[in-house]
């Protein structure tokens, strides 16, 4: 896919209002302790991430180096996923994101835990969503059988990025195959696109969007490369703001009937404020952990804020 034509923010907002009206959704999952001057969540541990691999990951991607896993709850031989969820439930947690490091084949090793996921849903009444990575037919079947509430996976549209950043011997077609497998099982698919993933520049993002557009996804989550301290990308600049906001508008009009949210992964400080304003201006449906002032800004644009204390992928749960 070549670089597509620019979409004016006004057009993106028009498309958004036509399908979704004036509601804008703000999310505060329990992935970190967070509050702003406009919103203090009532229950910070309502939704928590659990890693099935602890801080281990075979890929050691250049943008993460397991840093993202460090803040997750870990299961161990003594406390399996069900026991961990049971403990969290007793503390008031209502849903979990089952995640973890990746295998050399690009998937999170979830299969040994699918039975526990089913039990967590059925016996504890908790919501369960997963980070799958690349999906095999067997994993798709297992997740479908467990009736997980949703499957989140990063979709990459450039082979160079998959190889150089993720150190994986896969191609974009393998990620499209994952979408296809999940769609065949009628799973709730929540694809993510990491904007600027190729060392701070856009490369496969347009192709990723094109692939995602071919499948019935529940919600598209856009996140922005955040150079993490202690990783090979730690000294990089985030992608240019204009490139990111142009992509917001493109995603909006490419998927006019699908909710498109700005996820929790994005740079902080002044760039976060600029990104969040752009997300509102370019017609996205929701923002996780909105920067200070964004609730007021959304109201100034004639939007009506709604607040949800869980993951921004759970848009179907809002009703």
């Amino acid at each position: 896919m070549s670089t597509p034509a620019l979409v004016e923010p006004g057009e993106a907002m028009r498309v958004r209002r036509e399908t979704f009206g004036d509601a804008i959704e703000f999310y505060a999952p329990g992935l970190k302790r967070w509050q702003s001057s406009e919103w203090v969540p009532e229950k910070a541990n309502r939704f928590l991430p659990v890693s099935v691999t602890g801080t281990a990951c075979a890929l050691q991607c250049d943008h993460c180096k397991t840093k993202v896993l460090e803040g997750m709850i870990t299961i161990s031989k003594d406390t399996d996923l069900f026991a961990t969820a049971e403990r969290l439930k007793a503390q008031g947690t209502e849903g979990i994101l089952v995640s973890g490091g990746s295998t050399r084949r690009g998937g999170v090793p979830l299969l040994p835990h699918v039975d526990a996921m089913r039990r967590v849903r059925e016996e504890l009444g908790m919501r369960v969503i997963v980070h799958s990575g690349a999906v095999s037919p067997k994993l798709a079947a297992g997740l479908a059988e467990a009736e997980v509430d949703g499957v989140m996976l990063d979709i990459m549209g450039a082979e160079e990025t998959i190889r150089e950043v993720y150190h994986l011997d896969l191609t974009p077609a393998d990620f499209e195959r994952s979408l296809q497998l999940l769609a065949e099982r009628e799973m709730r698919i929540i694809p993510h696109i990491v904007l600027g993933l190729h060392y701070g520049r856009f490369l496969g993002e347009w192709h990723a969007l094109e692939m995602i557009g071919r499948y019935p996804v529940s919600t598209l989550i856009l996140v922005v490369l955040t150079p993490l301290i202690g990783t090979p990308m730690g000294e990089l600049e985030p992608p240019p703001l204009d490139d990111v906001t142009d992509f917001f508008a493109l995603a909006r009009v490419t998927m006019p009937d699908t909710k498109v949210n700005l996820g929790c992964g994005r740079p902080g400080g002044a760039m976060k404020v600029a990104l969040d304003r752009a997300a509102i201006d370019h017609g996205l449906n929701g923002i996780a952990y909105p920067a200070d002032g964004m609730v007021a800004y959304a109201k100034q644009q004639g939007l009506e804020p709604e607040f949800f204390e869980y993951c921004c992928s759970l848009t179907w749960a809002n009703a």
Binding site: K32, R33, W34, N45, V50, L69, G71, R87, G268, G269
Partner: protein, 149 residues
């Protein structure tokens, strides 16, 4: 700087630690109290991205914000462990908040004077007081997933 170790964390011996805010307080003996993040306050916040502090001259109350922190695992107000008037902000930390990721023990945030000595009563000092509390906090944060298990 005399230190002691608790569950792999290094704590400075001649400071007070506030169990409510995870801040350390260092008194200079001349009426000045410097405040900083204790090792768990730092680690449970994750990598620091941005920091703002109230201006010198601002009166703050214990339990109220004296600044705001934006980090990988925490975004929100920095809560004052004692009441007083801010007389100085650490400009080097303000200009480069990332130094907190490397060394939060040496990098104080604000200095207060006119503080209420009664606020110090609830704080812990000395290894015998600090170590049991800190070890229990490490366990609590690990259970919650706020720090790696």
């Amino acid at each position: 700087m005399l230190t002691f170790d608790v569950a792999g964390y290094e704590l400075v011996a001649d400071r007070r630690y506030d169990p409510d805010t995870h801040m350390w307080v260092e008194l200079d003996g001349a009426g000045l109290a410097r405040i900083g993040l204790d090792p768990l306050g730092r680690e449970t916040s994750g990598d620091v991205v941005a920091l703002s502090l109230r201006d010198p001259g601002t009166a703050v109350l214990r339990g109220e914000p004296f600044g705001d922190l934006e980090a990988a695992k925490f975004v929100g107000p920095l809560i004052a462990p004692l009441s007083g008037t801010i007389v100085a902000c650490n400009e080097s930390v303000l200009s480069e908040p990332g130094v907190l990721n490397v060394d939060a023990a040496s990098n104080w945030l604000v200095a207060l004077e006119g503080f209420d000595a009664a606020d110090l009563d609830g704080m812990l000092r000395g290894e015998s007081e600090v170590a049991p509390w800190f070890a229990a906090e490490v366990e609590r944060f690990r259970t919650q997933g706020a720090i790696a298990e």
